[in-house]
Symmetry: C2
Subunit: 452 residues, 2 copies
């Protein structure tokens, strides 16, 4: 019945867009596909800067890169927003081996989890496998003490959306090391949060409670994880590892912001995150979101669009390990008594865009779903209730009535690359990236037109 | 108003699928994604057979590969359907150079067009560029005689669907050489029918009229084509080329067919094409369609599905240069007085499936569009009037009332690989391939359930 109502509402609201909208959007796509700059901008960010974890020299260079590029487009205003961010470094040593009872030894593909302490020299222990975080919590200190805990939860391949599989495994990376530390394990290795079975380990953020015994945590490749599980079925396995990663004092960094003024001061904001993990080139995560966001503003300016509201593109810093960019941006916006009516985020890679997820009221969702017939020509089909994004999330605390949109993107291949050395420019397709930029510009335009 | 009516019809017909349908389709996807065999089957076809142009030893091996694989699944019937097919071979020599007035020389990335005559030793001529087939037709024999015609039409990047760009350029490949032959040109080179600017030449079929002067035709890479255009703006350019490709007598080959019996003898057929061009591995074109088609039948059998109609999977031979598989299949079906009610084809690569294009009546289109709410859970959104496929096309002549469906697939990257040495197994993603197989099995199931 709900579906029927939805359809009827769609029918009734078909007049919510015009021929002018369609013509303008066609121009947006022409600009993105024929004279687009997103792909070459991404090449610059990946090849001239590279991996750019918060607090690193590369992150500082990325801020300068973003500021310079935005200035080159002649927007009404370009500025830096100062924030405090964490600073963790991988160090130079990172190695691990497994040895079975026959003395067979395999070197593992390993990456320390972001935020982990180091091992303080070579450490070793017998491996105990648990299937997931719940299984780990059922163990006692006797089971675990002095051992290396291996959490082997794999992606559920049955999920159509790979983000669902990622979400289900997220606790083993975020909390696994902390839980094993409570039981005085020596260290934790997890199966990488990744779709395929291959040789790339995938890092990502993890968290320690204040008063817990802080032990090292690392991810091994999915292929290594499958091998380790099979060895453990046959007998005891010892794991040796060394990592010298560590946390430093917080440092100063910046969100990078560009604006085009509107007829009023209400704000439509959008962005991606400028930081990445310290491996690969942060091409899909989130170089793509950064160049989508910049390109969207460039296209609207290039087409001579005169917005109703203030359009603000934000290159957020520190999404990966602290979200200080997003949190600080929201707080400052509120302190400055800005009126934010809409926020849009691109942080799901540079693959084919399929639509937008809407974090808002039923009415806001319907408004977006009314665009379906208009956007079907551009192969945008998916308009569901969902998550906007990590960077723009904190704005909801201060502006509970705003609409937030997360660009929905073909998720099938994202977790082949995410947080790994495989996330490089060569794995981004030019046209798919350009279609993402056009979809962002389109949704910004529609929000600017439809929101009062 | 038409759209409103369509929506209302959708509302009215919401009861055209049931909870059982949804449950069954979920099982189809689980089987494809968790225990799927399509990816390993594609590996076999690409790596154990490889490129398999009609008439080649590899095509013969592909027939045996298909027959053996289908037999291994224990379907009700597996058989070969004998057909006559053309036989053209590239030969061993294929090279070309361009030389400008300063004597600068560049070796070109070149592939003879499929069906072309050879050059009979080294040939050379001054290059004359035309933008497209219409421009060529406006020239006289005086303009062209003894020269090498370069047709430089590029993909229109503004099209959202890359198939539209391909269709627009298709005449330069299919007819350009024939038209230049009429004007006694020495040879033709065309800009490859491809999306990106890179170094891969893309072959494909071409046609000579019976009584025309048959001259050689070849494709050069898009990067070479852009370079050649820029050289021609500066002065005269000479092109030297040698190719020893030629046509042989027709040979015998086979369509490979597998069936599961239904409650009646009406036939739902589907397939892809087993032949490929003689470069790369025919992974996307159309190894993907072949393993989609086989996997769809395997899944339905594995789930114990008891069909209403006869389900028939066909691995068509010779789609690329003659379509004798499709034409012969349709003729034989008619001669045998078979009743074909539906045909489905997968021949757009192993990328993310997005829906189905429907070649049928308005009523048939509506029937398929009514599945939208059911299939949205599986990220299938696109159900438009469109083309079914080359292999199944000839059936329409004998069965004008049948519904034909072409699986719609993300087209953005297809023409990076199509008909080139870049169309290899490594460029197919496992999950996207599996989702295609599941979508095929799903549509076969729905047609079997809904068609009387």
């Amino acid at each position: 019945m709900k579906q029927i109502l939805l359809f009827l509402l769609t029918v009734i609201s078909l007049n919510s867009f015009t021929q002018d909208d369609s013509t303008f959007i066609r121009k947006v796509y022409d600009e993105a596909l024929e004279r687009g700059e997103s792909y070459e901008n991404l090449r610059g960010l990946c090849k001239d800067i590279g991996a750019r974890i918060t607090g690193s020299a590369e992150a500082e260079m990325a801020v300068k890169w973003g500021e310079k590029l935005l200035n080159s487009y002649g927007f009404d205003k370009v500025y830096l927003q100062e924030i405090k961010v964490p600073h963790w470094e991988r160090g130079t040593k990172e190695a691990a081996w497994i040895i079975n009872e026959k003395g067979e030894t395999i070197k593992l593909d390993i990456l320390a989890l972001g935020g982990s302490v180091g091992t303080n020299g070579l450490t070793q222990g017998e491996v105990i496998e648990v299937k997931n975080l719940e299984a780990l919590k059922l163990l006692s200190e006797n089971d675990v003490k002095g051992k290396i805990v291996f959490i082997s939860q794999a992606f559920d391949q049955k999920n159509i959306q790979t983000f669902k599989s990622y979400g289900a495994c997220y606790p083993i990376r975020g909390k696994g090391t902390n839980e094993a530390g409570k039981l005085n394990a020596k260290a934790v290795v997890i199966r990488s949060l990744a779709t395929p079975e291959d040789d790339f380990p995938h890092t990502g953020t993890m968290h320690y409670d204040e008063d817990v015994n802080k032990i090292p945590g690392a991810a091994i490749s999915t292929r290594n994880a499958t091998l380790l599980s099979s060895w453990l079925k046959q007998g005891k396995v010892v794991l040796k590892m060394e990592m010298d990663c560590k946390k430093f004092e917080d440092v100063t960094s910046y969100n990078v912001i560009a604006e085009i003024n509107g007829k009023d001061d209400k704000i439509i904001t959008w962005g991606g995150h400028l930081d990445s993990w310290d491996v690969g080139e942060g091409a899909h995560d989130d170089g793509a979101g950064i160049v989508h966001s910049i390109e969207a503003l460039r296209i609207l300016k290039q087409l001579g669009y005169q917005p109703n509201h203030k359009l603000r593109c934000v290159l957020f810093m520190n999404e990966e390990n602290g979200n200080m960019g997003g949190k600080s941006y929201a707080k400052i916006a509120s302190e400055n008594k800005e009126e934010h009516i809409c926020a849009i985020e691109s942080d799901r890679g540079g693959f084919l865009p399929t639509g937008f997820d809407v974090n808002g009221t039923e009415e806001q969702l319907k408004m977006v779903q009314n665009f379906k017939p208009l956007l079907a020509d551009f192969e945008l089909f998916r308009f569901n209730k969902g998550f906007g994004g990590v960077d723009i999330g904190p704005l909801k605390e201060y502006y509970p009535n705003m609409i937030q949109l997360g660009m929905a993107i073909n998720s099938q291949i994202y977790f082949n690359y995410h947080h790994s050395n495989n996330d490089i420019f060569e794995n981004v397709n030019k046209r798919e990236l350009e279609l993402g930029a056009a979809a962002m510009a389109t949704m910004i335009y529609l929000m600017d037109q439809k929101l009062k």
